[in-house]
Amino acid sequence: MLNNFVLPDTLPAASEMIVCSMALLIILVDLFVSRSQRWMVSLLTILTLLGAALMTLVTADGQTTLSFGNMFVDDLLADFLKFLTYFAVIMMLIYSRSYLAERGLDKAEFYVLVLFATLGMMVMISAANFVTVYLGLELLSLSMYALVAIDRDSVRSTEAGMKYFVLGSMASGLLLYGLSMLYGATGTLEIGGVAQAVNQSEAPANLLVFGLVFTVAGIAFKLGVVPFHMWIPDVYHGAPTAVTMFLGSAPKLAAFAITMRLLVYGLFGLAMEWQQMLLIMALLSIGLGNLAAIAQTNIKRMLAYSAISHMGFMLLGLTAGVVGGQVDPFTAVNAYSSALYYVVAYVLMTLGTFAMIMLLSRSGHEAELLEDFKGLNKRSPWFAGMMLIMMFSMAGIPFFIGFFAKFSVLLATIKAGYTWVAVVAVIFSLIGAFYYLRVVKLMYFDAPVDTGPLRSDIDMRILLSINGLAVAFLGMFPDTVMSLSTTALVRSL
């Protein structure tokens, strides 16, 4: 046996190894630093992620490399998504530094859990095997459950953690069940092998579709689309804002990655089946998300419903890949890259929006009600302007990045012949515009309740300004990111 053992090529997973070993190291380091030296832990985490980013950049060669016995894939899509993940996490860490410190949450556990969650996302992004998908997903989810409940003295936070855990485990179970059926039908756990088996129609069709339904349900839970969305508002609301920001940003990239890996790379042969499911879920999400968001008075809940509708919009892009059973690579790439671009745009906007909530929060006061945004223009015209950009971008008004995200998805949808779907989607966007406009109204038209100046650190202010300007700038010059999304997909298909 031992003679057959070949050491796997570890280079493709070098950044994963960096993150993993540093996470373990940080636990140790924390034992030796005093409370006043806590900043070192935070800095070390950020440096870890920068190191991983550098490693990803260095090893990115645009080739698709399989390693660890075909369980792990390193392609351009993986590099692209990982790169974005690092930066989303780094931004989250910078935004939330003082928020955590004020609430005594800046323990090493937080940073370690964030790193493990990041590692989970990286594994999901690079998964080439059902087992790897599941492994990454569980690593992410378990770290997330703990993070949501990290403010253990808060009833709401622990309750949210519990809810998330119970529902999340059930979704993992569903996914696992679906994957095991797919394994039963195709006889392989490798995503490439599954694709082959499906294409050669060796596998029993009923079993495949049955497995597909459970798999889609599991994925839908992770994305948070209707009817698997129930956890989103409660968890977004209950978790500390820093964790909500984390939950709402980078994991969407990873969830998109497993959607691509499982449905597009693995089960492309069943595209006509899963496209229908995604289409229904997408329309329900856009409808319910936008309608329910109107009724919210808590901005975190409002953003939760908005997240549901955005993920629905993103799914529309995925439903437009295969038209009438005919596979046209050009159409497919167009559709999937529009979805990818949407996720990227969404993550950027979400980070900025939650950062605004943390900017307005102080110790002992969570600025999570819509009321807290009243009269922001009088307190700080600059940051009111940043929030204005975020809100109009989310509503899909040009010149901001959200418009071109919606535009590219609509284009893919209409190209696939679903013009009526596009019409329904834009009508719900109109309804959605109302609640984004309401935030702008509170900031600009109303008098402030709290007239004190904003207090926050300079690094957060700078980063938030860059984030806001990026949303505007990438809205004016969207081509670079769009082309990158497309290239990443083309090279990896």
């Binding site: 223009n377 109009f392 008004i397 284009l411 834009v426 515009a433 109302f434 600009y444 769009m482």
Partner: protein, 491 residues
């Protein structure tokens, strides 16, 4: 003809506005002077547009062509023809007046106020010169943001309602237009070039659908009856400058959209739907004329009069003869001057008395003789008195309409009676008679700044009324070319 004049006309006010914003509202004098300079420079750069305009050419001039988003073949494609040229000049001109009009009146957040108008001005120049579908759309939608803030931040007591209504109404129309634009992109094999779309062959059924999508978008903007209800609200609540820009320029965007998109891209559907549009236009002219008669709020009255006048414009477009289209265009420019002047006049009174109710006035001529003279002149122009600009356009459209169908022309001509009735009756109640109350007795006549603004507008209205030739001359070639397109079936 490769110059960057159009880009300059778009981006000078926008970049200038960013500098104004950066000054902050504390430095009032600096803010006001910088805004005035930016607005004036933006106006100056549009002067070469008509000085160097070649009116014998039907095609696009001052064309700028660059790739913007190659991924979707979206281009930064600008150009103007005889149809759009005057609106850019008018827009930049009105912006100067708006900045001057907000000089003393706006006390709060003046930097943001000025910046919003400058950005609005740049975006509207973009709309009038964009020749790429998405570029047009982007400017079209983005212009909602400053207007939303203008109404909501500096508006009257019911401003929140008006601002939301304005935004959502307009967004509904434009989102459907986006779907139509994307559909055209796919149908044309991957091009957002509006001029290429003019050549595109489309079947009747999609033509009708596209026409409806465009109609919803532009009809809200014009606004046509029955989707006009946002306009009176927006006008009443908006600050004076907001009303001026809304009436003088923003309403023209919808009408312009008909000429640039609906008529040439889907001519067959336009012909098929023409009776419908003509009916709506006549309802706007007559019914809204009566509605205006019943108003007790001056701003609302002028708002309804705007809707009625814009009904004339859409009527002129859909009778498909050169007289009608040119008359409608002249009417648009003229209405830009006259409605701006009317709102500024009402603003002058409002700043002093803080009421727009007709009943609160009476005998204004006794205390403000100079102002009353100007107000009378603009009221006459609004009623379409010969020798003012208001007459030229209406007369041309009526002539065109009679050619098309006598009864349509006869119905349209009632506007001359109705317009005179509501405007002059309002004028009589506000200006003539005994001094009605203490507030009117305390009125002071207009100051030099207000005098300047109104005098400039009065000259413009008079020149255009007496000698409209330069205005119509530049339109001939482009309008003929447009109608040639519209006459050709694309089935």
């Amino acid at each position: 003809m490769n110059s960057h004049l159009l880009s300059i006309a778009i981006w000078v006010p926008i970049v200038g506005a960013l500098f104004v914003l950066a000054l902050g509202s504390e430095r009032r004098d600096l803010v006001r002077w910088l805004s005035a300079v930016v607005a004036f420079v933006s106006f100056l750069v549009t002067i070469p547009l008509f000085m160097r305009f070649d009116s014998s050419m039907a095609g696009m001039q001052f064309v700028e062509h660059a790739s913007w988003i190659p991924r979707f073949n979206i281009e930064y494609f600008l150009g103007i023809d005889g149809i759009s040229m005057w609106f850019i000049v008018l827009n930049s001109f009105i912006t100067v007046l708006v900045v001057l009009a907000g000089w003393d009146v706006i006390k709060e957040k003046q930097a943001q106020y000025m910046a919003a108008f400058l950005i609005m001005s740049g975006l509207m120049n973009g709309i009038f010169s964009a020749l790429d579908g998405i570029l047009f759309y982007v400017f079209f939608e983005a212009s909602l943001i400053p207007m939303y803030l203008i109404i909501g931040v500096w508006g009257g007591p019911n401003r929140v309602y008006a601002a939301f209504k304005f935004f959502l109404y307009t967004l509904l129309g434009s989102l459907l237009m986006l779907v139509a634009l994307i559909w055209l992109f796919i149908e044309s094999g991957g091009s957002f070039n509006i001029l290429e779309w003019h050549q595109l062959r489309i079947d009747m059924a999609p033509q009708i659908l596209i026409f409806i999508a465009f109609l919803l978008s532009f009809a809200v903007k014009v606004p046509m009856w029955p989707v006009h209800t946002w306009l009176p609200d927006a006008h009443v609540e908006a600050p004076t400058g907001g009303s001026v820009v809304l009436a003088a320029i923003a309403l023209k965007l919808g009408a312009y959209g008909f000429l640039r998109f609906s008529l040439p891209i889907v001519p067959d559907a336009s012909h098929a739907m023409a009776p419908f549009i003509i009916t709506l236009s006549l309802i706007a002219v007559i019914y809204i004329g009566f509605v205006a008669l019943a108003q007790e709020d001056m701003k609302k009255l002028v708002a309804y009069s705007s809707i009625s006048h814009m009904g004339f414009v859409t009527l002129g477009f859909f009778i498909f003869n050169p007289l009608g289209v040119e008359g409608a265009l002249v009417q648009m420019v003229s209405h830009g001057f006259v409605s701006a002047a009317m709102f500024l006049c009402i603003g002058v009174m409002y700043d002093r008395v803080h009421s727009r109710q007709i009943a609160d006035y009476g005998g204004v001529v006794n205390t403000m003789p100079t102002f009353a003279a100007f107000f009378l002149f603009f009221s006459m122009a609004n009623a379409g008195l010969p020798a003012t600009s208001g007459f030229v356009g209406e007369f041309m459209v009526v002539l065109g309409a009679v050619k098309y169908n006598f009864w349509v022309g006869a119905a349209a001509a009632t506007t001359l009676i109705l317009g005179a009735a509501y405007t002059l009756w309002m004028y009589k109640r506000v200006a003539f008679g005994e001094v009605a109350n203490r507030h009117v007795a305390e009125l002071e006549d207009i100051n030099a700044r207000e005098y300047l603004i109104l005098a400039i507008l009065a000259i413009a209205v008079l020149v255009m009324g007496v000698y409209p030739f330069p205005f119509t001359e530049v339109m001939h070639a482009s309008v003929d070319n447009l109608l040639k397109h519209v006459a050709m079936s694309k089935l």
